[in-house]
Symmetry: C2
Subunit: 234 residues, 2 copies
DNA sequence: ACACAACTAGAACGCCGTTCCATAATATTG
DNA sequence: CAATATTATGGAACGGCGTTCTAGTTGTGT
């Protein structure tokens, strides 16, 4: 009886031929493909060509495309979080946020993969360090979940939006500043009485730094966490 | 010379046959299809069958699938935002947030459509009312963007995650509580020393109300906005 | 009645994820 | 060392997708 394709490798105790496939090699090639060609560049055909094999062979090591994408996403997040130094609670949260923002900016596909991703591995990698630092801040137990979910939603939400904008700009063949200018123009031309805020935001959008704004918004959330903590201690 | 397919309708001045196609009819059918069959249920073939026509005919009224999805998303958001009553700034923000949470919970595909959506129409529908209320709160100009981006990231981020969880549960054929229980179990079985926070969160996850937690987190962000406003006035 | 534009419908194209299966490489057994 | 079972490979094939093409139909203006 032919065994069904392995999804989990049996710890490869013995050596096989030099050029043999492995989950690790497939993952590495997938990440390269995703980084160079974007999310729609990852296909089993392109992947098998790059690995000099057929599509069928890949399925021995990987369950399906979703499995592949989740694993690639997890690999990036693991590297990203490992590189974050732990210092003060607030500083560490800021460092985690910055690292995630940069990682998702560099690998935009991670943003969309996170939405689809199973709740298990990739999300937990982010949840755990943020949760630990929120605890270290002294947030009482019953408020921790709200604090952590606000932080995670903010960090991932803005990072994802930033990555999506970058991809949209690339699709239209514009660089960052041209893209921002075109959005700003479009917003300026909206009806003045119906869209006063969006029109006023158009000016700010034109030449802002996404990363600076991201950290400013993070401070807003952190202040919210700080003030509720103080309130409950009073 | 045959005109290229219309993407914008010429205001249909004269009547055509009763069963003629139109952008509105296509959009309506798309939303039904998305709601009943999920995001992958929207295909040009299924759509053309439901409309008793061929795939080609649809392309006369719609540029491509992305256009179709964005328009459907925009339609839902327009209805959602129109239904929100404007009262106190804080109460209105909470009402907008609640309405969006419920709309995305009911139409999970809106969540993912928003990620891809062109920055123009759908996002602006949300940006504008939130921005107006943040202004009404008295947040000074230079802090408005950080406040609004924090609110939007939080609201859309949590709503999207909630919708994604619902879809994941449906994929696995579990109802909400079974799904939460399985996540909670998985988190409980993580290594105690490496994942203390996630393990402690497992208990809370098990029988929480997403909507209640969502509003609690929203208050954290609102407090952050309030405290930074006070600080700058001091 | 005729010409021309607006619109329809379905066949066809190329690509996708996935499955199947004949075969090769390796491990295990007698 | 031969024989056999297991593990792994790769290419052909399937059904379905978004999209394009085009022959045809419906409606309008002259």
């Amino acid at each position: 009886m032919a065994a069904p394709p392995r999804t989990v490798q049996p710890a490869r105790s013995v050596k096989r031929r030099e050029d043999s496939l492995s989950r690790a090699r497939i993952l590495e090639a997938s990440i390269e493909l995703l980084d160079t060609c974007g999310e729609e560049g990852l296909t089993f055909r392109a992947l098998s060509e790059r690995l000099a094999t057929g599509p069928g062979a890949i399925y021995w090591h990987v369950a399906n495309k979703s499995d592949l994408l989740t694993a690639a996403c997890d690999a990036i997040l693991a590297r990203t979080m490992d590189a974050v130094a732990i210092t003060t609670p607030e500083a560490t949260i800021r460092a985690v946020a910055s690292a995630l923002f940069d990682a998702i900016d560099k690998h935009p596909w991670v943003g969309s993969a996170l939405t689809t991703a199973a709740v298990l591995s990739p999300i937990v990698r982010i949840l755990e360090p943020i949760g630990q630092q929120v605890c270290a801040l002294g947030v009482p137990d019953e408020q921790q979940w709200a604090a952590v979910s606000a932080l995670m939603a903010y960090i991932l939400g803005v990072s994802r939006q930033n990555a999506a904008n970058g991809q949209l700009a690339r699709t239209q063949g514009l660089d960052r500043s041209c893209f921002l200018a075109s959005v700003s123009d479009a917003w300026s031309q909206l009806d003045a009485s119906a869209y006063p805020f969006t029109r006023s935001a158009a000016g700010h959008i034109r030449d802002h730094d996404d990363r600076v704004d991201f950290l400013a918004g993070l401070d807003v959330v952190l202040r919210g966490i700080g003030s509720s903590r103080r309130r409950s201690h009073a």
